[in-house]
Subunit: 202 residues, 2 copies
């Protein structure tokens, strides 16, 4: 027995969702068709719209549907002279939820990973260096993930900061080693911001 | 910080997926935008197509994109005189995978549940009775789920069968009580088919 073409296509397309295997994909497809066609239709449109229309801020690279995001347009954040570097847009969201940081962000959309061919330009460090060169950033807070790659990336950016005489600090206390930043609770993350330390370059 | 309109809509729409809470929905949305826009776009189209185009077979009510499904058009299955009644299209799929049954199906799309307002007509038993009246069905195999509602529904249909002098059997061995039919492995399900028993009406 063959399933119909559009049902087969739906089951196979559901596999793009993280953690969904073939059996789960089939159960989700049948669930939507049997019990929630309206929800399924709405999700279809929402996916099409989001994938087409959500781009990146030209300044900080976070998700944005305008050329420049709300945070990058905020004069208070620009005047703060503070720039927080994170790996992904979900980290911006997690940090914003602590309400402890009033500067700008720069979103790498990843981390340095030479073995996967991800060098400085692939994570926008050329763009970041242009921002450093303008001279209006006093301190860079390195909030990459506390993983080997995140630490390496933070160290690389700290060296760039030194070149432009910008102070570089690394968030420190409370972020569990080996974890992912956007899974940390707000209190821990706020603590990590307050306990940041200047990065020493050997 | 507000997320952009289409991103917010995507996160909220993902909640229609079974078992996806607000935090998972956000992680899935960010994952797709960061790492798999192509997959997300494809899934969007697949959902729209499936929700619009997958209907129900006019004869057996399983998922189908034509008026009558492949199984209902098969002369060998029609001539077998066997009809298997199941609760959902995924049960048809599970039984077909055992390759032990060569008759037709009737898919209730649910079970009797008077407290939820689901009576005989809501699960197509009026249509099923019209098929019984035609006189070409010799045996009905009741393969509803081994739950209270599934047993009640099977008993109700067995009574309908008696009215039309059609033999009614219930799949028996190996199906775990309280479970769901489409989660049972093929071997157990094949065994349950072979071990079916005639339903005694008091
Ligand atoms: Zn921005
Ligand atoms: Zn059919």
């Amino acid at each position: 027995m063959k399933l119909s073409a559009n049902l087969t296509q739906l089951i196979s397309s559901l596999r793009c969702l993280p953690g969904i295997g073939p059996k789960s994909a089939q159960r989700i497809a049948f669930h939507l068709l049997e019990r929630d066609r309206e929800g399924g239709t709405q999700l279809g449109h929402a996916l099409t719209n989001a994938m087409n229309k959500v781009g990146h801020c030209q300044t900080c690279r976070t998700f944005c549907e305008e050329p420049i995001c709300e945070l990058c347009q905020n004069p208070k954040r620009i005047d703060s002279g503070l720039l927080c570097v994170v790996e992904s847009p979900s980290d911006v969201l997690a940090i914003e939820q602590t309400a402890q940081f009033a500067g700008r962000y720069f979103v790498l959309m990843g981390h340095l990973s030479p073995l996967d061919g991800i060098g400085p330009n692939e994570i926008g460090l050329d763009e970041l260096e242009l921002q450093f060169a303008k001279g209006d950033i006093q301190e860079v807070i390195l909030a990459t993930n506390p993983t080997v790659e995140g630490e390496t990336t933070a160290h690389y950016i700290a060296e760039l900061c030194q070149k432009y005489q910008i102070s570089a600090s690394r968030i420190a206390h409370g972020v569990p080693v080996g974890g992912e930043l956007d899974l940390v609770d707000g209190k821990t993350l706020a603590h990590a911001f307050n306990g940041r330390k200047v990065v020493a370059i050997d």
